[in-house]
């Protein structure tokens, strides 16, 4: 029996002991600290990781703006005003107007709904299918791994946008086709990274110890290995979200996603491209909106990486 926090067998043995006896540390550093409430811990974490906090705050703000779009938007996103086409930014229209005289600020705010909705659904599907598949394949190996690997390779061998074009052509260009295409593009990557993380982790001494103790495969994968592989997977999900937002915008830019008059950021840029010489502001703001959302998800992903790494956490 080992005392908690006493590391007699080197760092590799620590997770195995954690399995047998529960978490080694109840706090960030030493077990002798009194346990604080979840809220207090969350606040400390947010204070300690300002870039993560900023990313999270921006994501939350954009989600709130998308949810409350009808309340905060100054105009109707779809009603044209031919007296005011392609106006630059002004007090009346902070982001200017588009080729049909519609307020761009309003359309950019409404655009968040489509971007978050389509990308979020695709990320959800990719996570629920890709990660368990990759973890299991990496753990069991053999025929199952080979089959998953080949199908994943086959799907992976399609460049994302080419595959999305094929799916959009098959299903007809729409937001639904975009979700299916984006999820199918992401699944092989999610499963491959999960499998890679599994290949690294399954060689760990703690897995051997867990196996020796007679744990079931489900326990080993989901209770022993998953927490240790969680860092790269959470980073994958948040960065995957960022990538999917970008891909979704690209698909719509090519005319394969949500169709006009839907105020979607990529669709707005597709129209704005025609007016890049006469009205560059038209292309500026939807692009900045995509950048902001993707930037925020990238900050969250990077923050999660640091947060999930106990060695990084202890050093700070």
């Amino acid at each position: 029996m080992t005392l908690r926090g006493e590391d007699t067998n080197g760092p590799e043995a620590a997770p195995a002991m954690a399995l047998a006896e529960g978490p080694l540390f109840t706090d960030d550093s030493l077990p002798i600290r009194p346990t604080r409430s979840g809220l207090a811990r969350a606040l400390t974490t947010l204070r300690r990781w300002p870039s993560f906090t900023m990313g999270l705050a921006v994501v939350v703000l954009i989600v709130l703006a998308a949810a409350g779009a009808p309340l905060i938007s100054p105009y109707d996103p779809n009603v044209p005003n031919f007296a005011q086409v392609l106006q630059g930014p002004s007090w009346q229209h902070l982001f200017g107007t588009d080729d049909l005289g519609r307020d761009m600020l309003t359309r950019v705010i409404y655009g968040a709904r489509y971007s978050l909705g389509i990308s979020g659904t695709a990320v959800g599907l990719a996570t629920l299918i890709g990660i368990p598949l990759g973890l299991f394949a990496g753990y069991v190996g053999g025929v199952f791994d080979a089959v998953v690997g080949r199908v994943s390779d086959a799907l992976f061998a399609f460049p994302a946008v080419l595959m999305a074009i094929a799916i959009a052509a098959m299903l007809g260009p729409s937001a639904r086709s975009a979700v299916i295409a984006l999820a199918l593009i992401a699944i092989p990557e999610f499963s491959r990274v999960a499998r890679g993380a599994m290949l690294v982790e399954r060689e760990g001494t703690y897995v051997e110890v867990s196996r020796t103790l007679g744990s079931s495969w489900a326990f080993i994968i989901f209770r022993a290995i998953l927490p240790n592989a969680l860092g790269p997977l959470l980073v994958l999900i948040s960065l995957g979200f960022a990538n999917i937002v970008l891909n979704e915008a690209a698909l719509t830019f090519l005319g394969l996603g949500a169709q006009p008059p839907v105020p979607e950021w990529g669709a707005m840029l597709s129209v704005a491209r025609r007016y890049i010489v006469s009205a560059p502001y038209f292309a500026l703001f939807p692009g900045l909106a995509i950048c902001l959302l993707v930037f925020a998800f990238n900050l969250v992903g990077d923050g999660v990486r640091d947060l999930m790494d106990p060695r990084q956490r202890r050093r700070s």
Partner: protein
């Protein structure tokens, strides 16, 4: 090693067959009739039947797949319905444009990512790290097609320095060819450099916290040697995989960038083919590009094994 290579190549071939089946079925299930598209409203049923027979569209599904595969194995991917030229010829015309774009984009990306990623990882939380992370964050958060549009506005409209659309083959005018590649390659290169820098940085940081680095330091190896021989080498393992993953994104990105800069590459060929239901071109482009990716994936696995002795040993120990 030889057994691993053989097995991996066998897997690659199996994957290509699987892709060919997926490609064939995806195109088969695309709604709409190419014969109707070709003939337009004036076509008679008799003409349609003749054309169907000519293209083998009246045959059962598996016969069509078998015939298509057999011809594909002989590098005959049919004739473009839209242009009447051979698909292989069409692809070979478009491929050099995409490859040139991809080559310059990878070059720009590696020139940015390798030094920036290692420096940021080694000097974590220093000004170098903040600068590299900032630039990488920015680069990764910018949609390629939007960056392309902004570059067209800045360097094509406001200060007309570079051509903003079209392609001049190097055989015609090498200077003009390079000039018309600057904006698209930079756009795509930044798009690629950002995730590579971030990934290499994360990888270097992870490697630095490994115990064998502590061991190497305690043995008295100089900091420079530790970084070059242990940190960089071990960090390159996941980096190589990531580079492979990014190559698929690169071609995906190239499809969009070609559209923005009106470059007559593979992406534009595919997009026009899809818009016009040009089935043979769709199938040909996807099959050829996908086959290229499988070959890259196999090469990466072999590289991965060569770089990591643990995987090499495990690979040779397996039956």
């Amino acid at each position: 090693m030889a057994r691993f290579l053989l097995r991996r190549c066998g897997q690659g071939i199996a994957t290509i067959f699987l892709i060919s089946l997926i490609v064939f079925l995806v195109v088969y299930f695309i709604p709409g009739d190419p014969v109707t598209v070709m003939l337009g409203a004036q076509g008679t049923p008799a003409e349609a039947a003749t054309l169907r027979h000519e293209f083998g569209l009246d045959q059962p599904l598996f016969v069509r797949y078998g015939l298509w595969l057999w011809h594909a194995l002989h590098l005959d991917l049919g004739t473009s319905v839209l242009l009447g030229k051979s698909v292989v010829g069409e692809v070979l015309d478009a491929l050099p444009v995409t490859l040139e774009l991809a080559f310059f984009a990878i070059l720009i990306a590696l020139l940015i990512a390798l030094p920036a990623g290692v420096a940021a990882g080694v000097r974590q939380n220093s000004w170098v790290d903040f600068l590299a992370r900032g630039v990488a964050f920015g680069g990764q958060s910018i949609p390629g097609f939007w960056l392309g549009l902004m570059l067209i506005w800045i360097f094509g409209v406001r200060w007309p320095i570079f051509p903003t659309y079209g392609f001049t083959p190097p055989s015609e005018d090498i200077g003009q060819n390079l000039r018309c590649m600057v904006l698209p390659a930079f756009t795509l290169g930044v798009y690629l450099a950002a995730p590579l820098t971030r990934y290499l940085r994360a990888s270097v940081i992870r490697t630095l916290s490994e115990d064998y680095i502590l061991m190497a330091r305690s043995k008295g190896i100089t900091a420079r040697q530790v970084i070059l021989r242990h940190v960089v080498r071990n960090s390159l393992i996941p980096f190589v995989t990531q580079l492979g993953l990014q190559l698929a994104y690169l071609i995906g990105g190239a499809v969009v960038i070609e559209q923005v800069f009106s470059l007559p590459g593979i992406g534009q060929l595919a997009l026009i083919a899809f818009q016009n239901r040009d089935y043979p071109v769709i199938q040909g482009v996807i099959l050829l590009v996908a086959t290229g990716f499988v070959a890259i994936n196999v090469a990466i696995d072999v590289l991965y094994m060569a770089l990591d002795p643990r995987i090499r040993l495990q690979g040779s120990a397996q039956p």
